[in-house]
Symmetry: C2
């Protein structure tokens, strides 16, 4: 699929937004109004380019005869899908594109509270909570967590999934496996960031 110029991209976005808002595609004139062009031919030319590059189809002779072939919108918003993030050790911007292993076709309302991404579990530290290696834990980004919540915490460059327990300056990250030790952190000496909490889990057999 050929690359789009900035303006072509704008026009395609305009068509998609209009379609989402009204349920039918815009006319050339409407695209112009939306994007500030003064001639319908400006829109026409961009549409022709988009057609040639395979992003849209134009039904000639039909008013508003546009249809989207390849959407620009991230797959996210069109047919809802949620990103799967590996439990990576390094890097901080968890939801950065390069950390997304794949996407699962489902929408955020799959779990009642909503969630932001799936975290792919590594290791067996939570096995007694019924959380296995490669399970996908649905994470809702929040820093508001209670003792006993299953949380994602970042300590320096390490991200971990554990039960949360904090009393005053002592943060305890408790595993669900007797072979693993509880991580104890004195928050006066070391920083720890709560990235979110688990609201659900999915597993593929």
């Amino acid at each position: 699929m050929k690359e789009l110029t900035k303006q072509q991209s704008k026009v395609l976005a305009c068509v998609e937004v209009y379609l989402n808002k009204t349920g039918f595609p815009p006319t050339r004139a409407e695209i112009c109004k939306e994007l500030g062009f003064k001639s319908p031919n400006a829109a026409e030319m961009h549409l022709r380019a988009l057609e040639k590059k395979g992003y849209i189809a134009i039904q000639s002779g039909s008013s508003r005869g546009l249809s989207i072939i390849k959407s620009q919108q991230s797959f996210e918003s069109m047919h809802d899908s949620m990103p799967v993030i590996g439990l990576v050790a390094a890097g901080s911007p968890t939801l950065a594109e390069e950390n997304i292993e794949k996407r699962i076709p489902c929408d955020p309302s799959l779990f009642s509270e909503g969630f932001d991404y799936f975290l792919k579990v590594k290791g067996l530290s939570m096995i007694d909570a019924g959380i296995h290696e490669d399970d996908l834990v649905a994470i809702k980004k929040t820093t508001l967590v209670k003792n006993g919540d299953l949380v994602v915490v970042r300590i320096e460059d390490e991200v971990t999934l554990k039960y949360f327990h904090q009393q005053d300056h002592l943060l305890e990250l408790i595993p669900a496996n007797k072979d693993f030790a509880t991580i104890k952190i004195d928050l006066r000496e070391q920083e720890a960031f709560v990235e979110g909490k688990s609201v659900g889990l999915i597993r593929t057999h």
Copy 2:
């Protein structure tokens, strides 16, 4: 929401089908062609009625200015949702309406192989497989199962979720909890029906 007459219903369906096929709504003339009317006013009148009853919106002055407000298509096919079945003891037609506890907004492709319904787990017999009480196990209806698969089996009026193991006439349904005994069935003496197998699991925290 008011009831539709037969013709109104046909027109609404026509708009929806056209929209699905082309990506934009039909004109009055196109509806006529599709449904065999000879006057654009026939379509116009039906559209007005559909608007008055709240099924569509008409953007006046715009060509093809129709948008669907309330689709006729069943909720199922529009916004996919999958039924949740309790692990009920009695009754046989598993997917009968009365057995559906609720529906989860997701589509069958959530798990790569596809699935037909969720089974809500009762009891702790599979706890060592990381399957807890109230977990929802995604079940694909099939009778083609291998030894080691996690299957839904019906024996008389009892439905159970266990690991499958069969050798000749001996069927073993193996739990994942040392406190539970393996169910052993001689198929020459007793019937057992494989209803499906697990392809995944979801849990709400």
